[in-house]
Each structure stands twice: as C-alpha cells, then as structure tokens.
Assembly symmetry: D2
Amino acid sequence: MILILKQGTQENEINPIRQKFESMGLIIQEIKGESTRMIGLAGDTSQVTEDEVMVHPCVERIMRVSEPYKLAGRKFHPETSIFDIMGRKIGGGEFAVIAGPCSVETEEQILSVAESVKKSGADFLRGGAFKPRTSPYAFKGLGLEGLELLELARKETGLPIVTEIMSPEYLGVFADKVDIIQIGARNMQNFTLLRQVGELKKPVLLKRGLSSTIEELLMSAEYIISGGASQVILCERGIRTFETSTRNTLDLSAIPVLHKKSHLPVVIDPSHATGYSDLVESMSLAAAAAGADGLIIEVHNNPEKALCDGAQSVKPDIFDSLIKKIKKIREIIK
Amino acid sequence: MILILKQGTQENEINPIRQKFESMGLIIQEIKGESTRMIGLAGDTSQVTEDEVMVHPCVERIMRVSEPYKLAGRKFHPETSIFDIMGRKIGGGEFAVIAGPCSVETEEQILSVAESVKKSGADFLRGGAFKPRTSPYAFKGLGLEGLELLELARKETGLPIVTEIMSPEYLGVFADKVDIIQIGARNMQNFTLLRQVGELKKPVLLKRGLSSTIEELLMSAEYIISGGASQVILCERGIRTFETSTRNTLDLSAIPVLHKKSHLPVVIDPSHATGYSDLVESMSLAAAAAGADGLIIEVHNNPEKALCDGAQSVKPDIFDSLIKKIKKIREIIK
Amino acid sequence: MILILKQGTQENEINPIRQKFESMGLIIQEIKGESTRMIGLAGDTSQVTEDEVMVHPCVERIMRVSEPYKLAGRKFHPETSIFDIMGRKIGGGEFAVIAGPCSVETEEQILSVAESVKKSGADFLRGGAFKPRTSPYAFKGLGLEGLELLELARKETGLPIVTEIMSPEYLGVFADKVDIIQIGARNMQNFTLLRQVGELKKPVLLKRGLSSTIEELLMSAEYIISGGASQVILCERGIRTFETSTRNTLDLSAIPVLHKKSHLPVVIDPSHATGYSDLVESMSLAAAAAGADGLIIEVHNNPEKALCDGAQSVKPDIFDSLIKKIKKIREIIK
Amino acid sequence: MILILKQGTQENEINPIRQKFESMGLIIQEIKGESTRMIGLAGDTSQVTEDEVMVHPCVERIMRVSEPYKLAGRKFHPETSIFDIMGRKIGGGEFAVIAGPCSVETEEQILSVAESVKKSGADFLRGGAFKPRTSPYAFKGLGLEGLELLELARKETGLPIVTEIMSPEYLGVFADKVDIIQIGARNMQNFTLLRQVGELKKPVLLKRGLSSTIEELLMSAEYIISGGASQVILCERGIRTFETSTRNTLDLSAIPVLHKKSHLPVVIDPSHATGYSDLVESMSLAAAAAGADGLIIEVHNNPEKALCDGAQSVKPDIFDSLIKKIKKIREIIK
C-alpha cells in the first residue's frame, strides 16, 4: 500500500502513521518523489482499511498494491477451482447451464420446464420461490410452497436446484432443500446474509450488484468463503449505465478479468442483463465465446402467462437450439 | 399506461391483452398513430407490473403515465408531511440536523460527541452500532453494546437516536431502543427488511442506494409505508458515477425532484457522499440552499483515531460554525 | 408522440399546442386516462423536437413513439445494408476485419504490420495519422506524413485504409487519400464535422461516444447520411461506467440492438474498449458470436516500442490465431 | 509515478524501463513490497503518458502521483486566478452571472432579454448563434446573423457576450466579435478546436463533457492554456448517470474539488444540467452556497415560443428574484 502525502508534510505528522502500522507488524518504507513524499506499507495489508489511513490529515491519497481479498483471489490460490456439485462440474473448462423459469408458479409449470431443459442438456434447474420485486404490490413468489415444487422437480429430473434466498429466517430451510443458494444482485452487499449463507457451507451463486465493481464482487465472495463455504460461483448479470435500450449493460469483459483475479467460476445471466428474450441467444453465445464457465438462462414454456419477467424468458425450442450452438463454440475456444 | 405495439400487430394478438386488463377492471382505449398502434390502460395501473405487459409478444414498449407508488407519492397525499419525532420536527419548512460519529466506539467518545453536537444545535444523534463493511476483515461495530451506549447518550443529552439496522434478527431490539431506524444504502432494496421494518411503525430513515433511481427510492419507501410505518425520511447520500475524485456524486437535484413527486422529508448526507471532510461544509450549505429538510453529518471529536470513516468526519468546531451558516441560509430561502 | 399533461390542465392551455402542431400537418388526438389527460400527435414527428413540446407549461412529460431518425433506421429501410468498399463487403452476413497499429510511426512499421495483418486475413488497414490525445504534451501522430505512409501501405498490400479525421481543415486530403473516414468517439457529437464528412460521400466508420446512447449514435449516423454519404459503419468501442478494471465497458448487447433498430453494419473495437491486449481475444470472439459484422483491432509488431496505446495492441501471431477462431465462430452462428 | 510490476518479474525485464526513463531525465527508484515489486519515477512525469509505461509487459498497473496538468493546476500556480473581462471580475470571491436565451432568435428577443437580465444584475449576456443539436432536422441557430444580433445587444446594454463556437471555420469571426468564447460539452475533447481557440488568446468558457472526469476537464483547460489563452473559466453542466428524472446529474461537489486542484474560476449551468426551469432556482442557490464563482442561466422572455430548450429557461421575474437571493447567500459564505 502506497500513501501519498500532502505537500509540505512535516516529519512529526508522519510519526503517528509510522507507529500505528509498525505496531501492526507492517514494514514502513519512505519513497521520495521530486516534489512528493510517499510511504510504502509492506506486509499483510488486507487488514488495513482505507479509512484508517485516510484519517491522517497528511495523507492525500492511497493506492492499494495488493488486493484486499485473499480467499477469493488467485494470488494465494493460483489453480483454477473446479467444483463438483452433485456430480455436475463447473469451472476450469467445465461448462454448466442453469435453466428454468423466473419464478415457480405451478407444479405443472415447473415439471414441464424442468423436463424440457433437462432434455436440452441443462445441468441445474433454477426457479424463484422468493422473488425480489421493486413494487410491494407485485407477485413475490410462492415461498415455501415454491421450494417444495422445486424439490419435486429435482426428484423427477435429477437436476440439482438453484434458488434465491432473501432473508435469514429461511437459512435452515435452504440448507435442507436447496443445492445451490443464490444471493441476488440486490443483496450482494447484505453483509449479514453473506456471512450467514457462508456458514451453511453449501454451494453459493453470487450475483454481481447493479453498480458493484468487480473488486466489490470479489469482496462479497470473500465474505461468504470466510464464513465457511468454499464453492462460490460468481455471476455477472448486467450493470447499470446510462443506456436505456437494454435493462442493464452486460459486462462480458468481467469474464476474463475475473478469471485473471480469481480462481472461482464465472457464469453469465443474459436474461436479467438484457431484459429481452430476443437478446438472450446472442449474449449467451458471446458469453461462451468469452470464456464463461456457465450460463443461467430463464426458460418458460408459456412466457405470455408468466407471473414475472416473462419478457426475458426464452421458449424451450429456442433454448434447445442455443445449447447446441454453445457446445460448438466451447469446442473452438478450448 | 400506454402500450406501443409492434408494426404489423394483428387484431387477434391484441385480444388477450384486452381480456386480461379488462378483467382487472381497467379501461382499454385504442390510440392510432400514423404508422403505430397503441393501447391506453386507464384505472388503477399501480397493480400492473411492466413484466405482465411486456410478455405479450406484440408489445414493443410501454410508458407509465401514473407513478407506480401511491403512499409515498404526492398525488394522493398533496400536503407536505411534517413529522414530529420526540418533539423534533422535520419536513415542510422544519429543518433537522442529525449528527454524530460514524460508529459508536466508547462511552467517552459517544458522550463527548453527543454533548458537543447538541450544543451546536443538532436535533438527533447518529452513530453506527452495526456497520456494513465491504471487507469481512474490517471493524463491524460494537453491536448491541453500541446500542446501549447510544441509549446512554440519549439519556444524557435528550437527543433521540438514529442508527442502522442490518439484519431482521435485531428487529425487536431496534423497536425497543432506537428512535429512528436507518436503512442503509446497500439495503435499500432488501425488500424483506423494508417490509419488516415498516411493520414496527417507527420513524425510518431510508438511504438511497448507490445506483438507485429516484423512482426506486420512492418504491422502497412505499414498501415501508405499506408495512405500516408512516414517518419515512428519504436520504440522498451520493450515487455511483464514473467520477473518481469524490467517493460518490452527490445528487442535490434529487431534493426538488423528490419534493415534487413526494410529500416525505428529504435529508442529505454529505459525509458519505463525498468521502472527504473538507467537502462536507460546502455540500451541507448547498443542500440547505437547495431546500433540503435536514442533514446527516458525521462528527468526531478525534477523527484521526476513528475506527471507521474518520476521513469524512468533521470536528466539532467545524460543525458548530457550519450549523450557524445553515441557519442563515434557511432564512434566505424561506 | 404522446404528451402527458399536468393534473388540472385547462382547455385554454391546450389550444396553443393544438394550433401549433396542426399547423405542422400533424393529427392531434385526445387520450383520457382516469386521472391524467394526454395528447397524441400522429404524422411525421421526426420534425418535432422535445424542446418545442416541453415549453408548454401544461406538458408534464412526453414519449416518442416513432424514432427521431429515419435514414439510419430500419423502419423505412427494412433490408439490411451490405456495403461494397473497394471489393470488400461488410454487413448482412459479410464480416470484415480492420487491423493495424494505433498510430502510423515509420514506413517500416506500417508496411510490416500491413503485410502481416493481410496475411492473416484482414480486409482493411487501420492506423492513426492524427491522434486525439487527452494530454497536450502527448504524441499526436505524424499528420499528413502518416497519411502518405498509409497510402504507401495500401499500394504495397492492396488493403483499403481507415483513419481518423479530427478537423475540417483536412476534409479535402481525406477525400483524396482515405478509403474509410473514421469519426472518433470524442467527435461523435461534433455535428459540424459529421455533416461535412457526410458531404464527401465516402464510407464512414462512426465510433460511439463514451457516454452516448444507442439512439444518439444513430442520430449521429443520421447527420452523416443526411449530408450525402450512404455507407456508414457503426462502431461500439466501450462506454464509460463506474467499473475501473477495464478502460471502458464493452457493450456487446449493442450489436443485436443496433441490428434491430438499424440497417447499418456494426463493428466492435475490443482494443480501445478494454485497454488491455490480453482481453482482446476473448472480446473479439464474443463480438463475433454476438453477430457483429466486423472487428477493428490494434496490431503492432513491437507493442513495447509503440508511441501510443501499445498496451492494448496484440502481436501478429495472436492476431493470426484469433482470425482463425473468428472464422469458425462465424460458421456456427450463420 | 509508481509502476507496480507483475509477480515474478525478472531483472532483465526491468532494464528497458530503466533505460527509457533515465534517458528522459527521470530518477528511477526501486520499491519492494513483501510480495510485490514496484518502481518509482521521480521528476517531470507530465511528459510520460500511461501508454508508454503500460506497454512494458512486466508492468501490471501504474499510479500517477503528480497531476498530468501543470498550467491549469494549483501546484505551480497556488494563487487563485481572478479574471478581469471588460471590467467584470470573476474568480476568487468575485461572482459573475452570465444570462440570456438559449439561442438568439430575433432582434427584439435578444434586446429585450439583454435589457432585462442587465437590470437584474447580470454581468454577461449569453445566447447561442450556432447550436449543437442531436437531430440534423432541428433548428441550428441563426449563425453569423445571430452573432450580429449579439453585438447589437452588447452595444445597447454594455454587457460583454458569451457564445459557443462549433467549428474552426469561424475562429476569425469569433476573435473579432465575441468576448468569451464558449466550448460546448460535446466539444470538450475536440482537441484541435481547443488548441485553435487557445491560440486566439481570448477568454474561454469551457464546459465539462457529459461523461468527462474532473481530471479530463482540467486536461482540456491545459490544451487551451498551452495554446496561449490564460483566462479559462471552467463550467460544470451536469454529467450523465443512470438517473432519468433530470436531464443530467449536476455535480456540485465539482466546485470544491476544482478549487482544490485548480486556480481557475468555476461556474455552474443549472439550466442544461437539470433540463427543467423549475429546478433552476434551487440548483442556482445551491451552487452559490457551494462556493461557485458564477452561474450561467438561460432566461427567455417568452419560453413557450423559444426555438430551443425553452423548457429549461426561466422568465425574467424569476431570474430577478433569484439574483437577489444569490447575493444574500454570497454574503453568508464569504
């Protein structure tokens, strides 16, 4: 960590900094620019927060040299992680497709979609039981009944299930029933929930927040892993920009960037990112070509009747042809 | 709500739309452009989500004419709300200052800051007991012990206390001990928590999320009010943009915009928005001049030793002179 | 175009609106919501600017139903444009690769890179003669000498040349010497230049501005086409967001969105978008998979010695293997 | 400038860096972190572009310690600039108001508005003769005729005139007729124009681009000053964010930040920033309270008939009362 000091900083202003960080076991090094004085901190600086440094009035700016995350980063975990989740692999050349409806609606619906996506080659079944909705007046999912329908679908198809947790009150139920626990974009910095979900030691799908940086996404993964879970899958699902012709802007360069910084698998959600079903195919193919480790796609057998987000759901036949193309692209980029 | 249909839409594609919304009690009206066909929906469209409309393949785009919120909006509540919270008023010409340290650290610290801000004219005492931190390795607040120290400070100074809730597990404790419950920016769309806090029927300070629109802020207020609380104070605390010389970009135009759309009071947090103590004064004065109903300012008697966010805390003497200027500005804009 | 009127609007306030737009030949239609009054304007509303409407104090908001562009849009030009530029085709299934160094530096450099990219299959040679630089102290290109070196490279390799114009004073020279005139991101809304370049009636490569919407990009294309040029190639090169781990955020969903709204070809610039050479391959493959009509890639035989943007330039061997993969991806998505 | 090297960098990879920068007269210093190696460059690094450094494959990241601008910065020009422009002062406690219509329309209009704003206390008259419009079909200003009408208004009222240049072809005319030459937001990085306008050595009003950082704004000012002009006024006019309830987001924290980094005066344009006349007053007062050196406000005697941007123009009586309040606020913050 480099501390750039304000012009005219006196020796006695630096002393408290020196003492503080030496007492933390860090090595202090003076760096002299022509007109600028700097201090370098070497050692384990992940314990040092920027706040602690910036409070010293003589510090103008700081630059982190090492990343603030350790467990989620590649530095101390150089080999790429490949997770085995109920026999399905993801990461490091293993590609996984998670598919299913936005929300679980009826037994008939979830069974029909599950059978259909399984036939097309999906590895996991997704479906919302608890739905985050911006309006208090909108359909919020079937709740516990939805979880039971997902379990039924798993029993019928063998597909492990992925679904979102929205509140700590259901931690126990999710631990029992769900195979991959999803943390939604809006809860990416619900730090209490991150920690609690981490303590369940189950696979987690962590969605990037709408305005979260890649570093923040990795810090949230760090929370989960430091809680005890080791299988964290990162998910890019679009960030918020000024562009309004898509719901969000899908940041596909996050794939190679995350692969460089982290050992964790990266999946892409083209359905939520774009908000339009007719953009899902092209963005799915692009994600695969960019090296994603997987996709999470909304599929609905009857989007017109979907109780939520039908506009972004593709029909089973589109999904089927999409999966075939994905496989071919995967072969090229190997 | 106006539905713009795709070119070449046939009559039979429109019928399901007509049936669906007529069954919801809405009035359907056809609008014909030269080359575009549209449908107008009149009636209570706050029950209609955009998803439900967009799933119809013939719909190209929709435009909401009425706002999706009711309880938080000015339309059905034209008079400006003035809240009386333990004898302090806020809203509609009544200005309130909330001040205190980023986090509660020791008895001596919180008592000393509380006395000091009270003397300068603060109306409420703030202080974090539970702190949201991006790093799992950073100080996360004193927790319940922090709440007790806040209670002690209230007892000594008479200042009602404002502090952030981060998890539903403490709902009961907050109901008992806290005067204004703060929902932080990162939890603005933690819909479960919004609802639960609303059900406590206590005053709430709702911070705008880093990438949340003004409409989304009002929808989150709607969640809280629909839960039962009526005293919701809106707080602008900076939004995330490409600019990096400040931590966030303070959106002061949100003040007049929120006043136009909503009857709720609007307070500004210049400390978190800018991230630098030397920008707090100018942004506080600007907020007052723009018509804010209050400020929430971080004050610390010893910022260099603060365990969090010291860099953005002002010292008591700066705070004191700031409050004096604020009063003069308030007189001008009345 | 729909005009939403303020609550309580009186008949006499609407009359001036009615008169104004009737006198422009538009058809005025009243739309009544339950609590909101609206006016629909039908006819050629591309002549109506939003300013003209919003000045009427009774108008609260407006919504465009038709796009404000005509020549660049698909509505009046439904068939996809395929351009033939000196025997190379681009658009509608014809894919073109533009490659070359960031800036033309020496005869040896440009000839060597030109030969190399030609061998790998590039269709056009790019190279900056006039360089936009944020610092007045940075290398600004060889200027006219650079154009001559590009001409020499065209003579040697047969590759048509693409280079950026930065000022109207060189319009004549560019008309003479350059095959595709590039308008850079920073000049996307230099409306005078757009018009003047359009009047040359030569092929134009128009880069999207860093914070420009897709609609604005199409409006700038409209300027060029209305000036007289018909062959306008649109280029997405990254937009500015809060994310800092890449130089900009490449918006690949712009490809299908532009194809839906416009008949013009769309190329992607992964070099400027990401700013890092090791992200170029994955983003190029993703662009091809997403349906791009071409790529513009920086290639340098000696990036370490490049006078500008070397960090984002790939070496010839990487470029060669990239082109081979692109061809395979093109076959899959056909 | 600090260069952070990639893990595992070898001595021989660093040698070319050492040679290159030593030959530029810079002092090279090695900095060793525990697991990271760094290089410090001391001396005049404003001549070093980031590209030149990043091309070395062993460099992972760089951090500038000194600003890349010199003439526009405060470091080498610590005293605040106060400009005297035809007897009107601006900067360092001297506040100036620039007012007038969006565009010059008729002799009667410009004379009437000029008289009116002069009476209210405006220091300069603004008015567009050449207008940047996103649509090629919109009114683009009266051009040279507009300049003549502005000259007439100056003759009648004595107010110096401020108007925007859009193309180098009119440099001579602007040199002759205009008192402060405005560079619009869309041309903030039209580097050729910046340089050429700078060479006229006249006062310049430089507007911040919609997605430009504060550093980029100062780099554009550096272009102008390095061209020869010394009186550059910086103007914040809203930046582009995800928020849609205002046209742009006015970044008032840019005022204190610019004052810290630069000696140049800072004015605020609330009219273009917000896009709505009813937000102009609150944002003007906020700007004055935040320490702005001036305002540029659109005033129109008949906004309903304005040929452009009428929706954001205030009427003369509103302007008059606004100026009175501004004066009082100026007294408080002195």
